[in-house]
């Protein structure tokens, strides 16, 4: 049985890793050999595509744009989302359940269905082709995610801890700052990581609301490498490898946190 599951694991890992391996090898293969007889073992490896990516194409710009947009989205949605989630989890006010349902409802619209209205709104307020013009639309999916994740997280924190702080003389804000937030670090980290990954990989909004190369994010820039007469596969694959680096780093560093944060609200401690 153990042998079987072990073997199955390697099959799954292989299925996942082969395309990644293929991408890596192809991104290091010279252009003229890319369409030769495919071989699993690479022949001559060159950095031509990476050099072209950063010298000819100035790939730093989309990377910077993606970092700014994904970073701002994460920062805003975790800050605002945690305040909102705390209120929904802990305080009594009329229309609480309805608010929570509305938050969820927002994330239920297919993205494509809100592209046109959002475009019109952004054009009207002059935010097309700006960072806020991407960050604000990203909040439409980042906030519901953050709020739902953190409401679950805050609810399973023992209320006694906050009451102990009240008895100790701490006001509500002081209690949130000194007690609730520090012990919510796993939940906040999970929300931040998931938001960052979604924003980093987002394509549709970025394609629709960024008008020129100076505001393209990484996914959009890669998609637009394709020229009228040729598809620079080497550079596309090199860019894909570069775009995966932050994601891979975050996942490797934070995978434990993500798992514990995602399951924290599920089971009562």
């Amino acid at each position: 049985m153990r042998k079987l599951t072990g073997g199955l694991m390697w099959v799954v890992v292989g299925v996942v890793l082969v395309p990644l391996y293929w991408t890596l090898v192809a991104s290091l293969t010279p252009e003229n050999r890319l369409f030769g007889t495919p071989s699993l073992l690479p022949g001559r490896l060159v950095l031509d595509h990476y050099r072209a990516l950063f010298e000819a194409r100035d790939f730093w710009i989309p990377i910077r744009n993606s970092l700014v947009v994904a970073g701002l989205t994460t920062l805003l949605s975790v800050t605002l989302g945690s305040a909102c989630a705390y209120a929904l989890a802990r305080m009594a006010f009329p229309g609480k359940t309805l608010t929570l349902a509305l938050v969820l409802a927002v994330s239920m619209f297919p993205q494509i269905s809100i592209v046109s209205p959002l475009y019109l709104v952004l054009r009207e307020v002059g935010l097309l082709n700006t960072y806020p013009g991407l960050v604000l639309p990203y909040m439409t999916f980042a906030m519901p995610l953050t709020i739902w994740l953190l409401v679950g997280f805050f609810r399973q924190l023992p209320a006694d801890l906050e009451e102990a702080a009240f008895m100790d003389g701490a006001g509500r804000l002081r209690t949130i700052w000194e007690v609730v937030l520090p012990i919510s670090a796993p939940g906040l980290a999970t929300a931040a990581i998931l938001t960052f990954l979604y924003s980093w990989n987002e394509f549709l909004f970025a394609l629709s609301f960024a008008m020129g190369p100076e505001r393209y994010t990484v996914p959009v820039a890669i998609a637009l490498f394709r020229g009228q007469y040729q598809v620079p596969w080497g550079e596309i694959l090199a860019a894909a490898m570069v775009a995966s680096v932050p994601v891979a780093v975050i996942i490797l560093v934070a995978q434990r946190r993500i798992v514990s944060g995602l399951t924290a609200g599920a089971v009562k401690g």
């Binding site: 801890l161 009451e163 009240f166 003389g169 701490a170």
Partner: protein
């Protein structure tokens, strides 16, 4: 230190459930009052009303004569020890103790001095740099107590502080709490469901049942003269023997404590019974007997040296002045 008063306090939860009803209670300065009752009797709610963690639906609450009904917990200057201790898990013991002082704007040097003094008194001075997760249950309990003591509050509220300790540690800590109360001569309100804890600790005991006070009095007063059938059954272990009867056409309940019944030769007592179960406790033995005309077994406490065996037929005798009589509503008849 301060006295605490509740005046016709009531708590009704939004779903209509009544936790506390029309409760008036005066807790004297320096007194250790134990609120005791089964789970759901409203005793924890009373504590939370005093703390300010719940707002009463009716009535007023006074501390030292000052109406604090509308004051938030932060401004009542009370300290609370929670059942699960509620230590701040991300702060070490020192920071846990200092937090309340820091919130009140005390100078850092004064805080250090006070924390060290209390930690030394409680024997936790070697644990100051540890986090709660690195402490044993007993140590956590001490830190929770320390966090309350260090504040020098107007009164202490303790919510079943011993229920998470193992039995051996519990009796030891119970004695320490009694000592602490005497040394600080502090006002304490202590919630428990354990009648033995209540009897041994309380200056006075308030027995609660279904959101109402059944009786308030000194421990032995409750034991000797329970005001209601509920108190009679709840206070004292093993519980009082109770049986319904008729007296001149009026339904009444008679009660006799197991300690007040003696085992004598068959036929020479008030009634005869057959021994069903014998529970030797060492100094004393609890004997359960089947008595004709009663469904429930009768409990009798005899000396540990007295030999009683299951299956024996024995006589039972008790002095007439040890019989408690309650009327149809469960109230004591003088």
């Amino acid at each position: 230190m301060a006295g605490i008063s509740l005046r016709q306090a009531g708590k009704r939860f939004p779903k209509g459930q009544v936790a506390v009803e029309n409760l008036s209670l005066d807790i004297a300065d320096g007194e250790l009052l134990v609120l005791v009752g089964p789970s759901g009797s409203g005793k924890s709610t009373v504590l939370r009303l005093i703390a300010g963690l719940e707002a009463p639906s009716s009535g007023r609450i006074f501390i030292d004569g000052e109406d604090v009904t509308d004051l938030p917990p932060q401004q009542r200057d009370l300290a609370m020890v929670f059942q699960n201790y509620a230590l701040y898990p991300h702060k070490n013991v020192r920071e846990n103790l200092a937090f309340g002082l820091r919130m009140r704007g005390m100078a850092p040097t004064a805080i250090d001095e006070r924390v060290s003094r209390v930690a030394a008194a409680l024997g936790i001075d070697t644990l100051l740099d540890r986090r709660p997760a690195e402490l044993s249950g007993g140590q956590r309990q001490r830190v929770a107590l320390g966090r309350a003591i260090v504040r020098e509050p107007r009164a202490f509220l303790l919510d079943e502080p011993l229920s998470n300790l193992d039995p051996l540690l519990r009796t030891g800590t119970r004695a320490e709490l009694a000592l602490l109360h005497r040394r600080l001569s502090a006002t304490m309100v202590y919630v428990t469901h354990d009648q033995e804890e209540a009897m041994t600790l309380g200056t006075r005991i308030a027995v609660m049942n279904q959101g109402r006070l059944e009786q308030v009095g000194a421990p032995l007063e409750l034991y000797e003269r329970p005001a209601t059938v509920f108190v009679a059954r709840f206070v004292g272990a093993p519980a009082m023997n109770l049986w319904r009867d008729d007296e001149g056409g009026q339904p009444v309940t008679f009660g006799v404590r197991p300690h007040d019944i003696s085992v004598v030769a068959p036929g020479s007592g008030e009634m005869d019974g057959v021994v069903e179960v014998v529970e030797p406790l060492g100094p004393q033995t609890v004997v359960h007997l089947a008595v004709p005309g009663r469904d429930e077994l009768l409990r009798v406490m005899v000396s540990g040296t007295q030999r009683v065996n299951a299956g024996d037929c024995v006589g039972l005798r008790w002095p007439n002045d040890r019989v408690h009589v309650f009327d149809a509503n469960g109230g004591r008849r003088a």
